[in-house]
Structures are given as C-alpha cells and as structure tokens.
C-alpha cells in the first residue's frame, strides 16, 4: 500500500480524498473525471425514489468564506440512475448516496442499487428538502431505524452522513453505530440564509439552504473530533477542506478519510492533487511513513 492509501469499511482507496456528494457528480463521466483528477473515491449525487428537477435558480449564493446552496436534490431517481450507469465499469470506489422519506424508502433504494454501489452513504442531513435529509436525520431514533433498515437490505457497507444542525452530533453517531453502520460521515451543510439588501428578500428561491466551504471548517472539525472520540466505527471528515493543512487537521482530529466539496469550485479539480501532495510532503517532513499513522493523533 502506498503512503496515502487507506482501507476503510473493507474497501481500499488510493488516497483518503473522496469527492463529496452533490459536487459535480451527476453522471459517470464526472465520477471518472474526479478520479482522473486525483480523487481516491467518489460519492454520487444523492439518489431518491422519483426523479426530481430540484429548485429554481437562484440555487446558490457565493459568500466570502463559502457557499449557501439549495439545489433541492435534483436527481434522476433510482431507475434513471441504473439506466445511466449501465455498461460502465469503475476502477475506483463508488459510494452511492441515497435519500428517502422513510426507513422503507432507504431500504428499497439500497436493495435496488446494491449491484452498482461499493458502499452506500445515507443522506440523513440535507438541510433544505422538505420531508428528507435533516428533517429525518435530526432525531437519533430515526437515524437508528434508517441505518438498521438499510443494513438489513444490503450486504454493502453503509455510511451514515450526519447533520451538524443538532445540539450534540454524537447522539446521531451513536445511534448509527448501534444500528450497525460501518462508518459515519460529517458534516453535511449548516442550515443558513442570505438576504439581498436591495431586493429585500432571501436570495435562494427556496429561501433557506446549506452553508459549506472554508467558513464551516472549524465547526465541522469540532464535529469530527467529538465523533471520533465517542465512536468505535470510522469517521469520514467533511466540511470546508480546501488546503492540505485543513486535511491534516481533520486526520489528526480522528477522520480516517475525507470528503471534498466546495473546494472543487473554489480551487478547481486540481484541489485533489494539491491536497494529496501537501499531505505527502507533511508526512515526509514530520517522519511518518503512512497517512494511517496520523489519524487521531490530536485526540490523545
């Protein structure tokens, strides 16, 4: 195994930098591109039961330290998804993100998509879709039920993606762990709003959305730190990772792998190589032989 390679939930990744769900990952060509550009794995856009168009524009607001988005979970539905991937083979781990309104819907999707997915990530955390995501995932008992239902429906590893929009994210993490989740990932976006002072109204057509990017990093890092201290299962760190220093901070805080989202827009696809090279240099300079050695060092 190379310096940057990791084994997580039974899957080998060339490096710990995974493309986050919802970031330029609608079609197979984009997943392949992400891998070509240096991502160690890919999480797909969240897939639901029915096709959805998503919300009307404006769907994003650019801020000095990140973005607020309310895309509205546009996706082709599970049938469209299966048609779309037919004939493709991927030489990197493909994690399929799914969302549903009930444990049964999640389980149904996992069953239907098990052939395609190397693992599932459960979107229990999108802050702007009525009846989905965070509206379900803010309650530990719901997280437990959904994870359990999905674990019963598939043999593939299951990652519960958690929302930071709660008093104590470890309650959600523990619920996922007890239900048999193979890992948790955190964070999804922080519920947020932006108002235009001249239009005197919220900018997003959906009014509220989710905040991501450099501005959320300290909050995300704290969530990962708390989860890693509390859980036995691995934690995948997400939220504002833009530089190699950010990435190393998350690893030290106990993240076994990382996902990168908004930084792909801020820095371009080259962000994967930039961060990988930075981590490698750091390992060399600090006398570590593998990225696996630094996971959780700041927890002690």
């Amino acid at each position: 195994m190379g310096k940057l390679s990791i084994k997580l939930i039974g899957i080998e990744f060339e490096n710990p930098l995974i493309l986050a769900s919802g970031i330029n990952d609608k079609v197979p060509e984009q997943w392949i591109r992400a891998h070509e550009e240096g991502a160690g794995g890919v999480v797909t856009k969240s897939i639901g039961i029915e096709p959805r168009e998503g919300y009307d524009n404006p769907t994003i607001v650019e801020l000095p330290y990140g973005l607020i988005n309310a895309m509205g979970l546009p996706n082709p539905g599970w049938k469209g998804f299966l048609e779309m991937v037919e004939g493709y083979k991927f030489d990197f781990p493909l994690i399929v993100s799914i969302f549903g309104g009930t444990p049964e819907e999640f389980a149904f999707l996992a069953e239907k998509l098990s052939e395609v997915a190397d693992a599932f990530e459960l979107n229990l955390s999108c802050p702007h879709a009525k009846g989905y995501g965070m509206e379900i995932g803010q309650k530990p008992e719901n997280v437990h039920e959904v994870v359990k239902a999905v674990k019963d429906a598939t043999d593939k590893p299951v990652i519960a993606k958690l929302t930071p929009n709660i008093d104590d994210i470890t309650k959600l993490g523990l619920a996922a762990e007890r239900a048999g989740a193979d890992a948790v990932s955190a964070i999804n976006t922080l519920k947020a709003i932006a108002i235009d002072v001249y239009a005197r109204r919220p900018i997003l057509s959906n009014k509220v959305g989710g905040y991501s990017g450099p501005g959320v990093k300290p909050v995300a890092l704290r969530a990962v730190y708390d989860l890693a201290r509390t859980l036995e299962i691995p934690v995948i760190g997400i939220g504002g990772i833009t530089t190699w220093q950010d990435a190393v901070e998350f690893l030290l805080a106990g993240a076994s792998a990382l996902q990168i989202g908004t930084a792909v827009s801020l820095r371009g696809w080259k962000v994967f190589r930039e961060i990988a090279e930075g981590i490698e240099r750091y390992l060399e300079e600090e006398g570590f032989s593998s990225v696996r050695e630094i996971v959780g060092l700041a927890l002690e």
Binding site: G22, I23, Q30, D56, N57, N69, M71, R201, S265, G268
Partner: protein, 233 residues
C-alpha cells in the same frame, strides 16, 4: 455576490431580441458569461457582448420578464464566469448563427486591433431574425446567409466557411448546436474554438448540471478548443 446594476439603455435588435446596456462595466474575456437575477423571477446565464452589454432573445418566462425592464430598472449580476476565447490567429473568421452573436460581438469589438482581418460568416432563419447588432462596423467582411433566402444568400454559413477555411488562422464559433457541429466538422476540430451551451444552475462549477461529457460548460467552457470536443460534439 451580486452587483446591482441599472439598465441605462435598451433597444430592439431583431424580432424578439433586445440589447440591454447597464450602469456598470465588468472586466471580462470575450466568451465569458454572467448570471443575471431578477428577484422573484429567476436567474439565468447570458454571454457578455461588451463590458456592460447583454443581448437577449425572448424564449420563455425569464427572458420575457427581462424584456419588460425599462431604463432605470435594476438587474442583479454575478460573474463574469467561465473560460473565454483565447486570442489566436492573425486573419480570423467568426462563425455565428441566430442568437449566437453576443460572444462574437465581444471578440470583434474588444479585440479588433489585434487581428489583421476579421471575416464574419453568419446565418439566420430569415431576414427578420438577423441579429447582428452593429457588428458589421467592426468586421472586414460579412458573409450573410438565411435559411429561406430572404436576405443574403440562401443556405448555411458553414458551406462558405468550408470553401475558404484555409485562409484563416483561427475560427471562433457560437450558435445553435447543429451549426457548431458543422463548424467542427468543416475544421476537422482544428484551429477552431466554439462557445457551447448547457443547462446551468450554479455557474461556478459546483452543481454539475452543465456537463458536456466530462467537462463542465460553466467552468471548463463555455469556450472549448475544437480538439477537446472530439467525440463529444
């Protein structure tokens, strides 16, 4: 973030096509676009025709609302975004069709002095749909076609381009996709840059809705070197 601008001038360019000049000038490269928000209506992409000018064809609800704006009304603009044209060639050709003129207008008006000559091959469905703005004042030659022969020659501009392509160091094209495909074919994907369109939402390379093969039109494009599009267009 948005820059709030005022419409300072608007005029009719062709049937269902209007130009909007606004109160602020944006630094841009020809081929780049802006996202334009009308609160309560929507937000859509438009190419900059000049630092302070967009030229719009009315095709639906958003462009319909834009057409009702009067001088002094506000527009919310973010951008410019995307990869624009690269300045190449001494003797160049512009190939345009229909409402594809705005980015070519940007080339002709902002880069005129860098080229030895500019030849414009332009096609429209009929006389009343010719959307040249006043680009004829900035090009050395205009070769005009209409599908029905109501103005210029009857036929397609790509036919004339095919006969003369050897004269040009670079061809810059924008227009309906069948025309772009024809231009790429004529040029064998070489010495040509085209401005493509796909459905855009974020405009900043994060949502993935504007994909053209593995590319993001809002980020890798909208302008692409012909060679990059081999097998895609």
């Amino acid at each position: 973030m948005y820059r709030v601008v005022e419409v300072v001038e608007t005029w009719e360019v062709a049937k269902d096509v209007k130009a909007f000049r606004f109160s602020e000038k944006f630094d841009f490269t020809p081929g780049q676009f802006v996202m334009t928000w009308l609160p309560g209506v929507g937000e859509k992409p438009f190419s900059l025709a000049q630092r302070d000018l967009i030229v719009v064809k009315k095709v639906g609800p958003f462009t319909g609302a834009l057409f009702r704006l009067k001088e002094g009304d506000r527009l919310w603009i973010r951008g410019p975004y995307g990869h624009g044209f690269e300045r190449k060639g001494r003797k160049i050709a512009l190939a345009g069709g229909g409402i594809g003129i705005p980015p070519l207008y940007a080339i002709a008006t902002s880069w005129r002095k860098f080229f030895e000559s500019i030849s414009l091959f332009y096609g429209a469905r009929s006389k009343e749909e010719i959307t040249l703005i006043d680009i004829e004042n900035y090009v050395d030659e205009l070769i005009l076609f209409t599908d029905d022969g109501s103005a210029g020659k009857k036929g397609f501009p790509t036919e004339a381009l095919a006969e003369r392509k050897g004269e040009f160091g670079q061809v810059y094209a924008c227009g309906p996709e069948p025309m772009l495909k024809a231009v790429l074919k004529v040029m064998n994907h070489k010495n040509v840059q085209i401005s493509a369109e796909r459905y855009m939402k974020c405009g900043i390379g994060v949502c993935g809705s504007c994909n053209l093969g593995k590319y993001l039109v809002c980020r890798d494009g909208p302008v692409f070197e012909g060679e990059k599009l081999t097998g895609l267009l």
